[in-house]
């Protein structure tokens, strides 16, 4: 037996580096893809020199090529440029949807779980209603009641997800509320507000964050579905769902469907992968 090796001194940066090394390659790719899409939506001009709204009529229905990566549409517009410029609207509406779901749903769940008693019972039935109406139908009636616009579609999508966030937040709050350290904090004279902000919320936020990431991807799909039905901004807007909806009218140019669909699926898949990774590293 040799003498035990001295314990290696681990600096925090080394720790962080080893944590980075443990990130699976698929997650790295997912992060890169999402980063790309986010960049598209912030500075679309960097990625394409074509104009998304003005086409060259002579160049209509060109298949994917070096000059037009995703081909061109029925007006000769570059499809890649339209996808890139459309991502801003798709991404920001998904963000709005998630923000609404997290804030409203989170607040309902927090109050229900933290106050308890009758408040909890009443809110639980309300949440049941949100969950009982099929998400997509709920989004459809909300958007039809607000008016057909992409922002309204985003709000509708957020409303349709309120139920699930309320439920998760409530169960997290209840779980933390029973923990010994929360009891200890009470015994030490911690106020309810102190316990809520210092103990309950930070502990619940992890699950809610994971769900929010997942919901971000899901919202992209729901908003695209609403846009597909024509409940978002009309053309020349180029939301991904709208692009697919326009593309379906030209069966001889299938890339008009495939290209935006693949971008959308890849984005949502990456977001799901990131969410799963976050859940695992919990």
């Amino acid at each position: 037996m040799t003498a035990p090796a001295p314990a290696p001194v681990v600096s925090t940066t080394a720790l962080r580096r080893s944590a980075v090394r443990r990130v699976p390659p698929a997650v790295v790719i997912s992060f890169a893809l999402v980063a790309f899409v986010l960049l598209w939506s912030v500075v679309p001009g960097l990625f394409t020199s074509h104009d998304p709204a003005v086409g060259v009529p002579a160049d209509k229905f060109l298949g994917p090529s070096g000059a037009h990566w995703f081909g061109t549409d029925h007006l000769g517009r570059d499809l890649f440029a339209r996808v890139v410029h459309g991502s801003a609207s798709s991404v920001s509406s998904a963000l709005i949807a998630v923000a609404i779901a997290v804030l409203v749903g989170g607040l309902i769940g927090l109050v229900a779980g933290f106050v308890g008693g009758w408040t909890d019972t009443v809110l639980a039935r309300l949440v049941d209603v949100f969950l009982a109406i099929p998400e997509f139908l709920l989004a459809v009636i909300v958007v039809s009641s607000l008016g057909f616009e992409t922002t309204n579609a985003a709000i509708a999508t957020g409303v349709s997800a309120v139920g699930i966030f309320a439920r998760v937040m409530r169960s997290e709050v209840l779980k933390t509320g029973r923990a010994v350290f929360v009891e200890a904090a009470y015994l030490q004279g911690g106020s309810r507000w102190h316990i809520l902000t210092r103990h309950v919320l930070p502990n619940a936020s992890r699950s809610v964050l994971t769900l929010a990431v997942l919901q971000f991807g899901y919202s992209i799909l729901i908003i695209a579905s609403l846009a597909f039905l024509g409940y978002g901004d009309p053309p020349p807007a180029s939301d991904w769902g709208l692009l697919i909806s326009v593309g379906k009218d030209y069966p001889l140019a299938p890339w008009l469907i495939y290209a935006p669909a693949l971008v959308m699926i890849a984005t949502v898949l990456s977001v799901n992968r990131i969410s799963r990774w976050l859940r695992k590293t919990d």
């Binding site: 209603v129 009982a132 099929p134 998400e135 997509f136 709920l138 799909l221 697919i244 379906k248």
Partner: protein
């Protein structure tokens, strides 16, 4: 146990009734906060050809000249006795209009559920028993299915199988093959959560001691799967399947539109465009009723199927929290 069960069942039934009534009121409120006055707009629209008398009759029927809470109350009291009102477009009773197209959607939804279950059980079995590489690939399926919206799948299926291979005609939308492909488009995203839960359960059961014992006694893989693992793994799936009802009904809106079917989904789409609010409200309420009833039945049947479940005092101790479950147990 029996008394506990009766108490549990009674409480769940009462809850379900309350939720259905609340869902009706909620829908009413959402629809009636509409900016503008679409009801009057629709009625006064000369294209619809309502006479002044009919308009007065409908306005009186719905109490449109009275405050919203009075309307809500009278609407609710009609709903309780099964009267869902009259379509603003056709002037026909909503129940009749919905009843006419219900069958097509039921066929589509059940076929889609069938597709989803075959896909889920096939994928889960493969993930467990096929060579490791294939299994790992199959484990990515739920995530992939969750990322593919049904309209994309539908359009791709139509493009490949109808336009290029000519297997079915989109015009003959209720035909066998057309229905099958519509069911595939609707079923694939729905299968994601079922598959996820099923894979996780199978992994768990395969690691249990009884499974090792059975294996050590020389039981073949397929027999082990069929005789021992399948039942305990698929029981919890009953509740997940019940939750997919909402996705099936919601997804039908788009699937029916793409495949040119006439059903509840396309009726929703049409009612949104024409602002036919009574029809819209009826369908949303109907969807909520179906969802609540199916989940109620699942909740009531589940403790009978799985004796390990103990009925606790809290709201839904008998079953795992719906989507959280899929979140938590995902691989």
């Amino acid at each position: 146990m029996n008394r506990d069960y009766a108490k549990y069942a009674l409480r769940r039934v009462l809850q379900a009734v309350v939720v259905i009534l609340l869902a009706y009121m909620f829908t009413f409120v959402v629809i009636s906060v509409l900016p503008g006055d679409p009801v009057t707009n629709t009625l006064r629209n000369p294209q619809n050809g309502f006479t002044e008398e009919e308009i007065t009759r409908i306005v009186a029927y719905y109490g449109l000249d009275r405050p919203v809470y009075v309307q809500l109350w009278s609407s609710l009291s009609r709903f309780v006795v099964g009267d869902l009102g009259v379509s603003l477009r056709s002037g026909l009773p909503v129940t009749r209009q919905v009843g006419e197209v219900l069958g097509s959607t039921v066929v589509l939804a059940l076929s889609a559920l069938g597709v989803a279950l075959v896909l889920a059980f096939g994928t889960a079995f493969g993930a467990q028993y096929l060579p490791r590489r294939v299994g790992r690939l199959l484990r990515a399926f739920p995530s992939l299915f969750l990322s593919m919206p049904n309209f994309v799948i539908g359009l791709v299926l139509i493009n490949v199988f109808a336009f290029q291979l000519g297997l079915f005609q989109v015009i003959d939308s209720e035909g066998g093959l057309a229905t099958f492909f519509a069911a595939v488009a609707l079923g694939i995203p729905v299968s994601a959560r079922v598959t996820e839960v099923l894979i996780a359960n199978l992994d768990h059961e395969a690691g249990e001691e009884y499974a090792s014992v059975a294996r050590s006694r020389g039981l073949g893989r397929t027999r082990l799967f069929l005789r021992h693992l399948l039942k305990p793994s698929s029981l919890p799936v009953v509740t997940v399947i019940a939750l997919t009802v909402g996705e099936l009904l919601g997804g039908a809106v788009i699937t029916e539109q793409i495949f040119g079917r006439t059903g509840i989904g396309s009726l929703v789409e049409r009612s949104v465009t024409t602002q036919d609010l009574p029809v819209l409200q009826a369908i949303v309420t109907l969807a909520a009723i179906v969802f609540v009833v199916v989940n109620l039945v699942a909740d009531l049947v589940y403790p009978l199927l799985d004796p390990r479940v103990r009925l606790g005092g809290t709201t839904s101790a008998a079953r795992p929290e719906p989507r959280d479950l899929a979140e938590v147990v995902a691989p």
